[in-house]
């Protein structure tokens, strides 16, 4: 096992444990928790058996397994950023509503 595999494995386990603690503190919805559990389980699995993504890459027409992992990560990250953007602008709009109500009532 290479050092990088061990690092990813340890980080994956740490992240997975964070998902469980957040779930028990009810900071996460069940559906979100399931998504993140699956995500980190896949990461851990790939860290232990890197050959598996190589064969998956071949099926999908990507040359190297690592490339597939990077492409996939970029897609996931972009989606998450988009979701954060939407959530933040929603929060911003709500803050404005509160500030407006306070300004008018006083």
């Amino acid at each position: 096992m290479e050092v990088i595999q061990i690092i990813i494995l340890i980080f994956g386990l740490f992240a997975l444990s964070r998902v469980f603690t957040n779930l028990s503190h009810k900071n996460l919805e069940k559906i979100e928790a399931i998504f993140w559990m699956l995500f980190w389980t896949v990461v851990i699995f790939i860290a232990i058996f890197p050959e598996t993504i190589s064969s998956a890459a071949k099926i999908l027409g990507v040359k190297r397994g690592v490339d597939l992992a990077i492409y996939f990560s970029i897609v996931v990250l972009s989606y998450l950023i988009f979701r954060l953007y939407a959530q933040i602008s929603n929060i911003e709009k709500n803050i404005t509503k509160i500030i407006r109500t306070v300004a008018i009532k006083k």
């Binding site: 803050i95 008018i104 006083k106």
Partner: protein, 227 residues
């Protein structure tokens, strides 16, 4: 004039706000709503002493948000006509009459001040940005205006209910035009003078800086994708 409410969004305008309010009072306007957008200076006290109704945003939310707060308040308090007026002394209170005229004559429901309908000196870079904004409004909304980003506007009560501002920051100028078009509100451009004082030219934070223009464009694209 009793049913005309003047909405003045302000942020750190202690130098100008007293004069602006007094000049408006001299012209006979008494429903003056100053929306303080989280000023850190003496704006609130000066405005209250000068006799304006002051609404306080306890956190800065942007000019669009401040205008909408003023509009909501004015509508709750029986306004028939609503005027957007700058707090920094760039607008001439005498011109409120001309901006209201098309509304009183029922020729339009909204009037938009335009500094390009009158010949006037203006810093070159400002002119370039404003002309660019006009082009973008034209491309985005298919509406050809002579001045897309003038803060001097007037609304009838009915139009103010239709054109609500939901963008907090400076994109509201574009949003207003978008909503006027979508909700088929009748509008007219009215020539107005913008007084460019030396301090306005010095500080980039006044109005919309050049960099802000790019940020606004980005937000407009995001809004456009969202709808």
């Amino acid at each position: 004039m009793k049913n005309t409410h003047i909405i003045i969004p302000a942020l750190n305008e202690e130098k100008n706000i007293g004069n602006v309010i007094n000049n408006l009072k001299k012209e006979g306007y008494h429903n003056l709503i100053l929306v303080d957008d989280g000023s850190e200076d003496n704006t609130i006290n000066i405005a209250e002493q000068a006799g304006a109704k002051v609404l306080k945003h306890i956190i800065n939310r942007g000019q669009g948000a401040a205008l909408q707060t003023g509009m909501t308040y004015a509508l709750l308090n029986g306004a028939q006509y609503l005027v957007h007026f700058d707090a920094d002394g760039q607008h001439d209170p005498k011109e409120i009459k001309s901006i209201l005229k098309p509304l009183l004559k029922k020729e339009a429901e909204v009037t938009l001040g335009s500094r390009f309908l009158k010949k006037q000196k203006m810093p070159f870079i400002r002119k370039l940005t404003l002309k660019g904004a006009i082009l973008i409004i034209w491309v985005f909304y298919g509406e050809k205006l002579s001045d897309a980003h003038n803060g001097f506007r007037a609304f009838t009560k009915e139009a103010a209910k239709k054109v609500t501002i939901t963008t907090d920051k400076m994109e509201h100028a574009s949003e207003i035009i978008d909503k006027i078009k979508k909700r088929k509100v009748k509008y007219k451009e009215v020539p107005v003078t913008i007084i460019y004082k030396e301090e306005h030219l010095k500080e980039g934070r006044k109005g919309q800086g050049q960099f802000d223009s790019i940020k606004i464009l980005f937000k407009m694209i995001m809004e456009k994708l969202g709808t």
